[in-house]
């Protein structure tokens, strides 16, 4: 199956949207084992880089992704974080065997501190844990 990753009208002017679309395309090309996770992703994830004033919605539909400018529809998961932390989400270290976020990793520890404090807010992650886990895997450059 060939993955489809496209930008919704207007999203090409959103730098974060084009970056995430490119990142996911290149990750799937570089690391074909991530394609199984991508094929099972379904749902909407909104990401807001608060200090940059930029928001987007990732609309996954089992092998197809449309990246929208702004928050579109009702997201299953919403991530609100500073731009540095949004970027760091792509650097989450994964465990070697099961590709789970590695709690010992430097990036994961930094993000965890942000979530425990008041820097990073993730709404809906517990209700949609499989969605978040798969998204973390396909977004990570590791």
């Amino acid at each position: 199956m060939t993955e489809v990753i496209e930008l919704a009208p207007g999203a090409s002017e959103n730098g974060l949207a084009t970056m995430l679309a490119d990142l996911l395309r290149q990750n799937l090309a570089d690391k074909p084992h991530k394609r199984a996770d991508f094929a099972r992703l379904a749902g909407r994830v909104a990401i807001v880089a608060e200090d940059a004033g930029v928001a987007l919605t990732l609309e996954f539909d089992r092998g197809r992704l449309v990246v929208h400018d702004g928050i579109v529809g009702i997201p299953d998961v919403t991530v609100r974080a500073p731009s540095d932390d949004v970027m760091a989400m792509s650097l989450v270290e994964l465990t070697p065997r099961r590709a789970l976020p590695d709690p010992r990793g430097e990036t994961m520890r930094k993000l965890w501190q942000g979530m425990r404090g008041d820097r990073i807010h993730i709404h809906g992650a517990l209700l949609h844990a499989p969605l978040m886990l798969r998204l973390t895997r396909v977004m990570s450059v590791h």
Binding site: E13, G15, D22, N27, A49, A52, V141
Partner: protein
């Protein structure tokens, strides 16, 4: 002595600024992915009739060479090319804007290059741009 940004003289001074940045030397010490080009888009009102570029031959935390070329040359020879308007570059060089945030805002655009590599070296990329603040610069606007 202040150098006009952008110009061949400014580009030459940028090499020394990069090599004088200890934070870049540390963040970029494992970078072996080739040159990076910064393209300034044309702006006739500022006397920039064509897109122009600064190519930085960076390797292992060192800037080996810089040169000033036309955009087409930079896109042909550098594996990574970032493009922006004059005022966008001025704002990141003077520290008014953060380079990574500017990319998220589409003020600066990666038009060539492997994004996962840039993300792995995000601090190196930031320091490369921040090094430019050490160049004594004369601004056109």
């Amino acid at each position: 002595m202040a150098h006009t940004f952008p110009s061949p003289e400014w580009t030459a001074a940028y090499k020394d600024a990069v090599n004088g940045n200890a934070a870049y030397r540390e963040a970029g010490k494992t970078w072996t992915h080739g040159a990076v080009a910064f393209v300034v888009e044309k702006d006739a009102a500022l006397g920039l009739p064509d897109d122009c570029a600064m190519v930085l031959d960076v390797n292992a935390g060192e800037c080996r060479e810089t040169h000033w070329v036309a955009r087409a040359v930079a896109e042909a020879e550098a594996p990574f090319v970032i493009v922006g308007r004059y005022d966008r570059w001025r704002d990141v060089i003077t520290g008014k804007d953060d380079p990574i945030k500017s990319m998220m805002q589409n003020k600066l655009r990666l038009v060539k290059g492997h994004l996962p590599t840039i993300i792995r070296y995000v601090e190196s990329s930031r320091q490369l741009v921040k090094s430019a603040s050490a160049v004594d610069s004369h601004w056109l606007a």
